[in-house]
Amino acid sequence: MLATAIFLHGFGTRYDLPASLWLYLFAAGGVVVISFVLVVVFAGEQVGEKAIRYPRRELKLLLSIARSPWPRVIGGLIGVLGLATIIVTGLFGSSRPELNPAEFLIWIYFWAGTVIVSGLVGNLWYLLNPFAAIYDAVTKLVRLGPVWKLPQRLGIWPAVLIYYSFACLELTTGMANRPYIAATAALAYASLTLAGMILFGRDEWLQRCEAFTVLFDIVGRFGPVEAGRDETGRITAVYVRPWGVGLLKPAPSGWDRVVFVILMLSSLAFDGIEGTRSWADFTIATEPYWLPQGAFGFFLLKTVSVTLLTVAFLLIFIAFMEMVIYFGKRRVDLMSTVSGFALTLVPIALVYNAAHNYYYAVVTAQALIPLLDDPLAKGWHLLPAVAAYKPSFALAQASTVWFAQIVLIVVGHVIAVYLAHLRAGERFRTAQNALLSQYPMLVLMVMYTMTSLWILAQPVTSGG
């Protein structure tokens, strides 16, 4: 049976129709054709350092705002207010997720919304991060020095582990739709992060262990706003640049960074796959193995699946990178090359994320408005004017949703192919080598985009 009210991480009804087969085929065909045109047209482009230089324009007007403390103060206040609301409403509000603001704030406004806006504008988490805001406010009053030093060899593996745990909470535990669990997780994570910053130092912890700082740093690289800083970290200029090119900027390399990016891609893909009929068929076929353990068995099945999917994504990526380097015919530093190319996949993941969450962002998000009247479900009437608000479906007609999804997927794919092309030019130095090395990367990107489209074209099933 095809029941269609599916839930984002077990929460939030959606009624959108999956893209039809002909539209999927049209988009998939278009992606291949456009990829081919891109490669042909840009063959023999700039090579070496010139390849990754991009145009940017200084915005003098924004410099004084960026230098003032106000964006951090206002952003921090919003972040802390959001965190406090999640904890209070999650612990003391309704146990029904659709009636609890905590669920909306975590899964739609933070998880779907902040990622989309950060991709469109720039790293919003830098301003909103409530943990950093609390720490900064406290250290204005009390001096807190780091007690220990994080071993250098840990890299950003702690952030990878935390991100993996968050992905499991969201996708595999089946508990993301329980407000008190979400609130408890938020409270525990806030305590861990604050303790980590106090014990190991603010920036050390944020940049190496705080998964969302690492995540939004990557997402923010896609955004068009760039801050120039001096050695002390003071902002010296604010620029606008084309979307995506920030992913070409020099970035730290290492397997920890590569695995983090791959985990971003695989967890997003699993989020989509979980809603498909193929997944439902798979869970039914494997029932003899997990059903005896009940809910724990299902959690185990999903956790093993998301882990295997991540390993598969990683192995496929490494295999394709071997081919890229082979065709590039130049001795390059393997680690920085692999890390650099991993970032070029980010646009495909971001647009897929936006396409996948389009319905939540334009319809389900509105369902928070009437909850403001009675956020703890105690029968209050704080804002009677909004109590009767009904979400508008104006932007959710099937044709609008499909067109938005196709535009997003195609534009993201074009940006990714172009970035990989520039990265190849920078790495492999001669136009011919760069062009040859492009083909495996192009195949990988087409495969990934096709998977995204396939998921969007699947009939959705209940659960999720």
Binding site: M1, L2, A3, T4, A5, T13, Y15, D16, L17, W22, L23, F26, A27, G30, V33, I34, V37, L38, V41, F42, F393, A396, Q397, A398, S399, W402, F403, I406, V407, V410, V411, V414, V460, S462
Partner: protein, 118 residues
């Protein structure tokens, strides 16, 4: 060739998206047709037909007969059908939202079927 590269790619993308937009939006039906659905619910657990279909902006009249007292609920449109055993309950509405909307026996949240508006 160099200075035409970006315009060429932009043109290809725009043409592709324009064709996509034409295909998607030209396929839309104007709607406004009158659609009547006669459904029978048994024991609050099953409904025949299980799938109701309509086009955007059609005027849909649903007649439900149930062998039990209770409520059949059309989600998304948020329309309750208060059933009395053996009696027909009728509601008419405009299918102004596209999508795939579940229909449930409200008291037990048992899925009965769905309305597809395309």
């Amino acid at each position: 060739m160099n200075r035409y590269r970006v315009p060429i790619v932009a043109a290809v993308v725009v043409v592709f998206l324009a064709i996509g937009a034409f295909l998607i939006f030209a396929n839309q039906t104007k709607g406004g047709a009158k659609v009547t659905i006669n459904a029978t619910v048994s024991k609050g657990t099953s409904m025949s037909p299980g799938t109701w279909t309509a086009h955007h902006n059609d005027i849909v009249t649903v007649n439900i007969t149930s062998d039990m007292d209770g409520e059949v609920h059309l989600h998304g449109y948020d329309i309750p059908f208060e059933t009395k055993a053996g009696q027909v309950v009728t509601k008419t509405f405009t299918a102004d939202k596209t999508g795939d909307f579940p229909i449930e026996w409200e008291s037990t949240s048992t899925p009965l079927g769905h309305l597809v508006v395309s």
